[in-house]
Symmetry: D2
Subunit: 347 residues, 4 copies
């Protein structure tokens, strides 16, 4: 590691830094006569960077080569591929997650699942527990919704991606989910992240609309630190000052993440756009920026949707996006994983 | 209530709206020939607005007069005053919460508590459970920290404001806390809000740095909906594009909240500024905009602080702010509640 | 047009609205009994929407069908194609603008121009007048720079895109430029927009990093209103709270603009990224979202660049982007216009 | 000066830095063995910092003690006081600028001017040239408006603050204005800033809603660099993601500016709030954060206003703010300068 210390550091602060380094087994040397750049040599661990950053005398950790955090991509390190039932994210493979915002009724759920499976999805999204801004809004069907998800999984073979909101529900949701979804509102929920980290089930982690990329990566680190290595990062748009789209899809973050971490990255153009007519363009932009897949809100009767209705797209619009994804992936020698999409799609 | 419906509404969506209105006991009438403005008459309840907002056909709820949410201030409704041990927020009274970011050692905690009590604080802040960006950062002393808080409360008479992060800790933290703090990272944590709502203990709810004011008020509503009426809102700065201050203290939100809700509002100039030299000016701005108190990070040895060090102020700097607060409050016929601040302060 | 008026409008405000409508030759009728929705029938003009928006009693102009502003795309209206020397933007054709941030020396300029011409650019960018944050920074070579641009145009056949900052320089810059660049800092400079609007030379208009899309379109309208129809809109990133990239490339705005206006749209991934290693990914995202071309900062000796150095890419990196652009365009049945790019590129 | 150079700097970049230092007459020495911190000794000039910042090899200018820019406050340097006709900004004196958004009719202008003069204003604002988002909106009365301003100045004794938009109008506007206003949309207009810098008339410079504080200060430097030392900085709110207020009044920036620069700072609560009912609270917050005055939109018939109507306050609301300002100023030993405000106000 290479630390930049604050200039003109009081002696106790300097001693705290050197003491911690010694305790953790590092050899220390200053690069400069001004005692500003401190090199730590020895074999470190992923938690060391944060331990030093916590000290008031440390201005910044400039290099963390011998103490990389678990999400960090070492030079030359290949992508981690996360496999979720029929879906695969990362490496040269992309997958699509599609489905309704919330689980509503059994016939509707089956109809949507069948439709998206036939058009390129390997994973079904659908909330049984919905995080809502208002305590009075529909909070999901709960256990009844979970049962429907289990049944649709059995009938269609689609893997299930569903949200968990409460650390006390992790076990129960895990009985049905193939992949936990951690929503944007939960990205900063340390106890929840820790609890899903204790499982060995894949996690789709959404970026909070107010979070920096560093904070997003550290949220993933909460899961990884518990030994669960199956994290997929999801960029879903951040807050901006204009209202043309609900959020700003941060394609720069997607591009940056593909370099900074070995974890797969997907985009959520539905929540970024907040309006159905712009979802396809944002989906394309996300894949072109490097994303390993998409999560999309799809519904078979758009006029009936209970929440987030304006952004749900039809199955046919979803198929167009699946075709776009396959074509864009092919330009990079990547391929879209899917069940039964027409031969024309296969790269 | 007055609803604005989407124009050219499909029949099933209109029926869904009229059906819900009928089910909830409202008489309905359109204000206009275009069936866009729907008046609902009858006696409503606080949850009705969200029920209508959830329907796709409802563009906006323009008036909620007969179905006000619990946080809303009715015309002429006085401030709710929240009393916390020696502190009182709202009405004509202001209080100051001061203390370290995290509970560290017993001597230090006692020293800080004694210092802030003598200079104008009635409540002590200090985290036993700290929400951190990194899983490897100091997460607080936990139960040991709670014990120290109980002891310092007994020795000084200060009320304790301390954070709860996990719904499973609400009971345990509540044995020590006079007021739960819900941090900015937990504002969107519905299960946690619900759990503190089930208690009858005051709650200091911080605004997430990415949340709109409407979302902030609805987070309070999660607590209020459970029957806990003792919520104090805390504006602590939102994310901005400049790095002069860590966050932007949204004084416009403070001013707006004092009109829109009957709940007390306090400002956190420490987290907004992120640097000690600007805390006083932001504290003054917050009070001048209408805040009912402040929460401030104070430490007796600034060079030793474990986290958020750069923003902690000294007890003497805190005393200046207490004097400012008393003087500003007096201009409006308000007063600062305190234990032993010098007579000069009393309005 | 369809206006939404403020509710409970005082009589003089209502009269002002009806009076203006009458003066402009519209027949008026209220859609609703509440006098909130006012329909204006008759043949309008592009300036009418703003005249009504200026009135205090008008809450919003909901439809402007019979009085579209000049930038608005009518239903079914095809793209306006802007032709600039060898470049063409819009319709099914894309073009690339490439070159240094500022004109520095003649050999360097010629070297860069030759390199980008051979790799897919039809237009050369390069500032003779540079808008800078500091009065003491290099402001460009001025007339000497213009002379070099004229010379490099003659020698390479590339069209010249160069910035004009001052309304008093419009004529002088126009003697050399094939296309005026209006920088992000000048998007709100009405006198300058008016002055370039009086010419008949194409204008590349950059979005201010703090502007809404509506403000951006109205800036274009300043040019169009003077009779100059050759405007290309350039999204170059807006201000955000994270510093991973210098700005946020707003791909949602690109997608929206392609629907809302008939004017061509290009992306500037160099200024959005602010770092060379992410330029390619943002370039791809911009094209995939629908952009009609790119403007890129390219330099042959990156270590020597005077300003904005960290974001300049090499000619070889530019060629990769040109190949990406051609391949992405081909997926949509579009093509990249270029001089001599290898056959493999041609769609 | 103290420079931090980029690490592992190529030789030509290092030579460029040392060469410039030598050319400008500095003695150079590295603080560290890693050649990262370069001390420049000797007597510098205000333009030197930007010259070094322009070099690619310079990561940051850490100290500019011997080459301070003109806006920077040297240790212990008192406030610059800017005097404008009857108004004085800075030091221990505050002034209020009030008036309509735009000059409309002579009777209305006289009425407003008389009203604000009697209630605490020493300066009248009012635009003859209005910067508008749309080319079709009312752009002001132009020369006719200037004539009315000259006449109202003669009749009331109020100083005139009015906007100049175009460098070609500086002379003409200067014949009437006691203080040029540079609007937020013109903050990045270098030619305009340079032109008003060539005069010796005070300048009220508004911060662009998308500008960092550093960019704001450098805009002031454009004026100062021409020898015009009479600049008052105006914080008027920046863009945010919520729509409760039109903009975010950045009180942290006000507090920071009072430390970083010797120039006076005023707040514009009208444009920040964008709604009359919150103007008073924001005015108070601005003064409490340290502002040396306010600029406020006041109108005698709010229902009649042509632009920005919703934020204009009545003369009586203005008087409340004047009284607040006087009282808040008195708490710091400062005073409000005014013509005829009642004795009760005088500190």
């Amino acid at each position: 590691m290479l630390l930049r210390l604050r200039r003109a550091l009081p002696a106790p602060q300097l001693e705290a830094i050197l003491g911690l380094a010694s305790e953790l087994g590092y050899r220390t040397s200053f690069l400069d006569s001004g005692s500003e750049f401190l090199r730590l040599e020895g074999s470190g661990r992923p938690d060391h960077r944060s331990l030093f950053e916590d000290l008031v005398g440390v201005a910044a950790v400039l290099e963390s080569d011998n103490a990389r955090e678990r999400h960090e991509r070492a030079p030359g390190q290949p992508d981690t591929q996360v496999r979720v039932h029929g879906g695969r994210f990362g490496g040269k493979e992309l997958s699509l997650v599609a489905g309704p915002c919330a689980v509503e009724t059994w016939p509707r759920l089956l109809e949507i699942a069948t439709a998206v499976r036939a058009r390129g999805a390997t994973l079904l999204r659908g909330g049984a527990y919905k995080p809502r801004s208002s305590p009075y809004s529909f909070q999901g069907l709960g256990e009844e919704g979970l049962e429907m998800l289990a049944r649709v999984r059995a009938e269609t073979g689609l893997g299930i991606v569903t949200e968990v909101l409460d650390p006390r529900d992790v076990e129960k949701v895990g009985e049905v989910a193939d992949m936990y979804q951690i929503g944007a509102r939960s990205m900063t929920n340390g106890p929840l992240l820790t609890e899903v980290g204790r499982t060995r089930k894949p996690v789709l982690l959404k970026r909070s609309f107010g979070a920096t990329v560093r904070e997003f990566l550290l949220a993933a680190e909460f899961v990884l630190a518990q030994g669960n290595t199956q994290v997929v990062l999801c960029e879903r748009g951040i807050r901006g000052f204009d209202k043309i789209t609900r959020n700003l899809l941060d394609v720069g973050a997607i591009a940056y993440l593909k370099k900074a971490t070995h974890l797969p990255v997907v985009a959520d153009p539905s929540h970024a756009a907040g309006r159905a007519d712009l979802v396809r363009a944002l989906a394309r932009a996300g894949i072109a920026a490097g994303a390993d897949g998409l999560i999309l809100e799809v519904h078979t009767d758009v006029s009936e949707v209970h929440s987030d209705g304006a952004q749900a797209i039809t199955p046919d619009a979803f198929e167009e996006i699946a075709r776009d994804t396959a074509a864009l992936a092919a330009l990079d020698g990547r391929r879209l994983v899917h069940f039964e999409l027409s031969k024309a799609l296969a790269s």
